[in-house]
């Protein structure tokens, strides 16, 4: 901002007229100023005296997170714990990770090979537009969902969808999928079923809800991207489960502001973060936490050459092992995440966790140097690395800390920070960077992990390589009656091959008012779902 300058040559230093005739001016100025202060105080007092109250036999639920929900279509949006208010899932995941009936009352794999799955629907469910939730409606929705462009659209490899009578549906898959109950429950949204009426004009799914959940969005009380207001769905099959007269979800980007809103009673629950959790605990708030993710460095390019045609050091196993030995996970985890993380070199998964492999690469910089020298890199090398700045503590600080440890064994990181997902994603998908700082969560199955990153049809083939051993473990495990056995072997394979430099597990946090009950979750459920919450 620029100053508007005025001539100063003839100014006096105050209104001290030599004649003294303007001495009233002092009194007047003071009086006016006091008057202004009095008016301001009166306004403040008026405001303070006023309180708002809400009517109705059931209380309102108000919760928030930093995530700006921008699209209510479950085939596009990924804010599952918000959409669960309006979209009942085929199968419900309880906070402890076990499954319970929802729109489907029973389910089972048919035959062997985990390629056919049968669900029996409840007969009393209706969408918020009054349409019954029957097999035809579910089939129509699943076809729409899998053809959409959402991040979860391809999780279930549908081959055909068959209806048997009005209440039974059979899913035939093009490949074995051992985790269908999980994929058809809330965390993956594939089980969120919308009304067939909405599909005549799918654009309206962005701003309106057409689910069979306990609530439905009220667009008149909603500002997309800022707050969404949900009101009870008169057609919900279990009216006793509607415990709130209204539910408001808000986006609050600033963690300190979100914490203040919970502290002052403006919110009943808020999705916290590492930067505020200590303050929340100090303020006496109830903090609910679960280890739902991990943080570390993803090695993006494991092909024989880098983008500029040089030999790629990351293609060599001893080099990747050296990088894993080079970091002191205990110190990093303790200093950055504290009691809300545990050092690990294995990405936690729901079905493949191997405690014995979680500390395979104990901190040993001497061994790291030895391995690098043996691989032909006695003087180290430089890696071009991305950082997810927008993840706060687990963004730049994590990558810079790893860089310090790598530097001690001769490996330099050329770090590019990224202020937003939009900034980071094209670089992550492109060929120019060899690694990226990364935070993943919620925890998923080893099979979904494989499908996302390592399989031949992975979303992101960032490694530029294939591992036939891993592929075989996947194929055999996905078809078996006990898929957890191979899930563990798959994760063990990833660790022994030093495919990434995982550093620590990390928790997520919810700050909860004393007036709210039922907010609980685990690594398996990923999020606490507000459909489980109740007033206390």
């Amino acid at each position: 901002m620029r100053w508007i300058s005025t001539p100063t040559s003839s100014r006096t230093t105050g209104f001290d007229d030599p004649t003294g005739s303007l001495s009233q001016g002092k009194e007047f100025g003071v009086r006016r100023l006091l008057h202004l202060v009095a008016v301001a105080a009166a306004v403040s007092g008026l405001c303070f005296a006023a309180t708002s109250s809400s009517a109705g036999s059931k209380p309102e639920l108000r919760f928030a997170s930093a995530t700006a929900v921008t699209n209510l279509n479950p085939a596009i949006d990924i804010d599952t714990y918000v959409l669960a208010l309006a979209y009942a899932s085929l199968i419900h995941i309880r906070p402890d990770g076990s499954f319970a009936p929802a729109l489907a009352t029973s389910w089972r794999y048919v035959g062997s090979g985990n390629t056919t799955f049968e669900l029996t629907l409840r007969k009393d469910a209706r969408f918020s537009d009054g349409t019954p939730v029957d097999a035809q409606a579910v089939k129509k929705w699943l076809i729409y969902f899998s053809g959409e462009k959402g991040a979860f659209a391809k999780n279930i490899p549908f081959k055909t969808i068959q209806t048997v009578g009005r209440w039974k549906i059979v899913l035939h898959l093009s490949r074995a999928e051992p985790n269908l109950p999980f994929l058809l429950s809330e965390p993956f949204e594939s089980g969120f079923i919308g009304s067939p009426r909405a599909l005549s004009k799918p654009e309206q799914l962005k701003t309106h809800t057409f689910g069979a959940g306990p609530y439905m969005v009220d667009p008149s009380q909603t500002v997309p991207g800022d707050h969404y207001t949900f009101v009870p769905n008169p057609y919900y099959y279990d009216q006793s489960a509607i415990r709130f007269s209204k539910v408001t979800y808000r986006t609050i980007a600033q963690p300190t502001t979100l914490l203040a809103a919970v502290q002052t009673g403006q919110l009943d629950a808020g999705y916290g973060d590492l930067s505020t959790v200590a303050k929340a605990e100090a303020a006496g708030l109830k903090v609910v936490s679960a280890p739902i993710g991990w943080a570390g460095l993803l090695l993006l390019n494991r092909g024989p050459e880098t983008e500029d045609g040089q030999a790629n050091p990351l293609s060599k196993l001893p080099v990747r092992q050296a990088l894993n030995y080079a970091v002191d996970r205990k110190t990093i985890s303790k200093s950055l995440i504290g009691k809300y993380g545990s050092p690990t070199d294995e990405a936690p998964t729901l079905d493949g966790w191997n405690p014995e492999f979680s500390n395979l690469y104990a901190y040993d910089p001497a061994k790291a140097k030895q391995l690098l020298a043996a691989a032909g890199y006695p003087d180290g090398f430089t890696l071009k690395v991305l950082s997810m700045t927008f993840f706060g503590t687990l963004g730049d600080p994590l990558v810079q800390t790893i860089a310090k440890y790598f530097s001690a064994v001769g490996v330099k990181l050329d770090i590019t920070p990224n202020a937003s997902l939009n900034d980071w994603l094209p670089k992550y998908l492109g060929p120019d960077y060899q690694a990226t700082g990364f935070t993943e969560g919620p925890v998923i199955s080893a099979y979904t992990t494989y499908n996302n990153w390592y399989g031949p049809k992975a979303y992101v083939k960032h490694h530029g390589w294939s591992d036939p051993v891993l592929d075989k473990l996947y194929v055999d495990g996905a078809r078996s009656k006990n898929p957890a056995t191979n899930a563990k072997k798959m994760m063990a394979r990833l660790v022994t091959q030093a495919d990434e430099v995982i550093v620590s597990t990390s928790n997520s946090f919810w700050y909860v008012s004393k007036h709210l009950g039922g907010l609980a979750y685990s690594a398996a459920s990923g999020y606490p779902y507000p459909t489980e919450w109740y007033p206390k």
Binding site: M1, W3, I4, S5, T6, P7, S10, R11, T12, T13, G14, F15, D16, S21, L22, S23, Q24, G25, K26, F28, G29, V30, L33, S44, L46, C47, F48, A50, S52, T70, N71, I78, K149, A153, K154, T207, P224, G225, D226, H227, T251, I252, A253, Q254, T256, T257, L258, A260, T264, Q266, A419, L421, N422, D423, W424, P426, K427, L429, Y459, V460
Partner: protein, 350 residues
């Protein structure tokens, strides 16, 4: 044949532009209006607004298209196939050349259609409409507070001088030094968390409850006003000191005019011209300040909307808000010009 009269609006339009007023029934009134100094000011501003809007919309479009990432990345996140990204880009028209995208937007904008958000599906005009009230409340409230407190402090400092004056100066300078987002966070801790006088976050529409509306604005307005108060106070003080030292004030004193009359009828009115200029600058600065303050207080305003839209690569929304903010700046400048003509008769004559 109806004769036409050319009226050259030298003061109202850029060089070389002539407006032709016919000889219809409204012609005399139009001619009078065209010669009116206020109409000239308004006409000039409105005509200059057209190229300004074009430049702003084109440059914001270009700048956003140069940033990495786009709405497809935002919508799909990291777990999507290359085919999914490509398909969504085609569906959103993001695969077209930038100039083609801009011209497409411009054609619709000229008909009043600013398009729809590619992220939420909401029309841009509706998105702006929904978020206008919090931002306007914030800006108007902050301007009022800046004027009342800033002029008050400036007057006090100019009149009193001495320690009290220096204290007022120090307070004004503090307003310059303290960033709005920091003071906002501190105000929340003190007045919302500890004293529980005001809500920590959110906005209550005035139609729901005027009192709650006022309560929801007190802290954000206080945080946003600091800079304005400082700017207005400094300018008021400087201008008042200059005016009070001028010959006509000495003459007024010598003629025995009452102090109140000298201060408010003669000195303050003359000193207010540069203060009004500063107010214009402050008002435009407040537009930028709302981005931080809305973020800290979680207000559903235009500042948050445009920041989120930029981060998400939501071009139509960024464009719409950029055009809207430009219009606001034009209106503010127009108001300043009109204020000049009211405060300073010489401007009217010119």
């Amino acid at each position: 044949m109806v004769p036409e009269i050319d009226v050259q609006l030298d003061q109202a339009v850029p060089d070389g532009i002539r407006l032709r007023i016919g000889d219809g029934p409204l012609a005399p009134a139009l001619r009078r209006l065209a010669r009116h100094p206020v109409a000239r000011v308004v006409g000039r501003r409105l005509l200059l607004a057209v190229p300004l809007l074009l430049v702003v919309s084109a440059s914001s479009f270009l700048l956003l298209s140069l940033t990495p990432g786009d709405a497809a990345n935002q919508i799909l996140g990291p777990h999507a196939t290359a085919e999914q990204y490509a398909s969504l880009r085609r569906a959103l028209g993001l695969d077209l050349p930038v100039q083609e995208q801009y011209l497409h937007w411009l054609r619709h904008a000229l008909t009043g259609d600013l398009g729809a958000s590619v992220i939420t599906g909401e029309t841009v005009t509706r998105a702006i409409g929904e978020r206008l009230a919090p931002t306007l409340s914030l800006i108007v409230g902050s301007l009022l507070v800046s004027v009342l407190v800033g002029v008050g402090l400036g007057l006090f400092s100019a009149i009193r001088g001495g320690r009290a004056g220096r204290l007022a100066d120090a307070l004004a300078l503090a307003g310059y030094s303290v960033p709005a987002f920091w003071i906002g966070a501190e105000l929340i801790v003190l007045f919302a968390v500890k004293l529980t006088w005001f809500p920590a976050t959110g906005y209550v529409p005035v139609s729901h409850s005027p009192v709650d509306w006022l309560r929801s604005l007190v802290l954000p307005v206080a945080a946003l006003s600091l800079y304005g108060i400082a700017a207005v106070a400094r300018q008021t003080r400087e201008a008042m000191l200059d005016v009070l030292a001028s010959e006509h004030i000495r003459m007024a004193r010598a003629n025995g005019l009452p102090a109140r009359s000298i201060l408010f009828r003669h000195a303050l009115r003359n000193a207010s011209v540069p203060v009004v200029t500063v107010l214009g600058v402050v008002a435009v600065g407040l537009l930028g300040g709302t981005i931080f303050v809305e973020n800290v207080f979680a207000l559903p305003g235009l500042g948050v909307l445009v920041v989120n839209a930029s981060l998400q690569g939501d071009l139509p929304v960024v464009q719409g808000v950029a055009v809207f903010f430009t219009l606001v700046v034009i209106v503010v400048n127009l108001a300043i010009d009109l204020a000049y003509t009211w405060l300073n008769p010489r401007v009217r004559v010119a």
